[in-house]
Amino acid sequence: MSPIARAAGRALLVIAMIGGVVAVAWSHHAAAPVFDMNAEKTVMGVVKQVDWTNPHIWIWLEVQNASGQAETWGFEGMSPNFLARRGWTRTSLLPGMRITVTFRPLRDGKSGGMFMTGKLEDGKVLTSAGAE
């Protein structure tokens, strides 16, 4: 497969993932009123805790802010029910792992958002649509 075809394939997958996220978010709550669905931000941190719970998993990161202080950030993911059928397990993310998270930021400006993708140090990627 040519690089262009691969890139196009990836782009399609991303679009498809976003479609899936929107559909799933609707089952419990509307995403747009609380998350800015048109914005995407990235943050790097160390996993503090993972709540493998319904109706959403929550991933808590310790992030160093600009002045070098540790802050806690929280990210809402899909449900364990949804993710466990798509390659995630409750040990996919463990405390101490370093992760780069892309997310839709909270509209209230607090430290967190809707989890979109997480890239681990070993190159593994976890997405809200499943694990790679």
Binding site: M17, S27, H28, V34, Q49, N54, W60
Partner: protein, 253 residues
């Protein structure tokens, strides 16, 4: 003599009551009733609507048709729309009721037992009880979120009729129903592991004409239904003013 008549009357009353009690008591299913299930189209198993990007097997569903409301209910909807609520009570873990219960992006398990089809709904851990033993719908059931259902087979299609819905539920976003709402669902195998679900909402007070939508479900023989306790860790909320938010408190462990 009077005494004798009284005794006879009492006996007749007792006999009538006992016969009535026996008639209303369903007979236990026998081997033939269980065997008859094997002859039905097999809708049993775990089903989920395929959605683009979620590893589904089919194309994304077309946006469903909008209900066409009567002027009175269109006015009610405009009033509710004008409140501009961010979300619904589902954000607070209140289940949606029918018909939205059948539109979740979570699986459903269909179970057949003699005289009954049971739909276990993973989202919000709910159960629909559909009686297929030939009983009629009750005349005036207590209003409930998922209504009161009976089912019958029309050839290879399971036809389910449901009435009696709680006024706390809506037929669609900001769209109330009247107490006359009736929902007819037609479940049919469209392929070995594909089910077509046609849902028609009939409401002479709220709808200018019946509102029909169709949905396709894919069967996952290797899936099981999981627990879903919405209150386990629900950080979403909708307040009384209709403002949605997220409770971002520090980890509790």
């Amino acid at each position: 003599m009077k005494y004798a008549i009284c005794i006879v009357l009492l006996l007749v009353t007792a006999l009538t009551v006992s016969v009535a009690a026996q008639q209303s008591k369903p007979k236990p299913p026998g081997a033939a009733d269980w065997a008859a299930l094997a002859k039905l189209p097999d809708l049993t198993g775990v089903w989920e609507a395929p959605t683009v990007g979620r590893g589904g097997r089919g194309p994304a569903a077309a946006p469903p048709a909008e209900p066409q409301l009567t002027p009175a209910y269109a006015a009610k909807k405009r009033e509710l729309d004008a409140r501009n609520f961010d979300d619904t009570e589902a954000a607070n873990c209140l289940p949606t009721g029918m018909p939205a219960i059948m539109g979740h992006p979570y699986p459903y398990e269909f179970l057949f037992t003699p005289g009954k089809v049971t739909i276990v709904t993973e989202a919000y851990m709910q159960v629909r009880h559909i009686y297929t033993d030939g009983r009629p719908l009750p005349a005036d059931p207590d209003p409930t979120f998922n209504g009161t259902s009976i089912g019958r087979w029309d050839g290879d299609t399971l036809v389910v009729e449901t009435i009696g819905f709680s006024p706390l539920t809506t037929m669609a976003r900001n769209t109330p129903h009247s107490d006359k709402m009736r929902i007819v669902e037609r479940f049919r195998l469209a392929g070995p592991d594909t089910m077509s679900v046609e849902t028609t909402v009939i409401d002479p007070e709220a709808l200018a004409k019946p509102w029909t939508t169709t949905r396709t479900l894919a069967r996952h023989r290797d899936w099981t239904i999981r627990e879903y306790i919405c209150e386990e860790n629900n950080r979403n909320f909708l307040d009384a003013q209709g403002k949605a938010g997220v409770k971002l408190t520090a980890p509790v462990k």
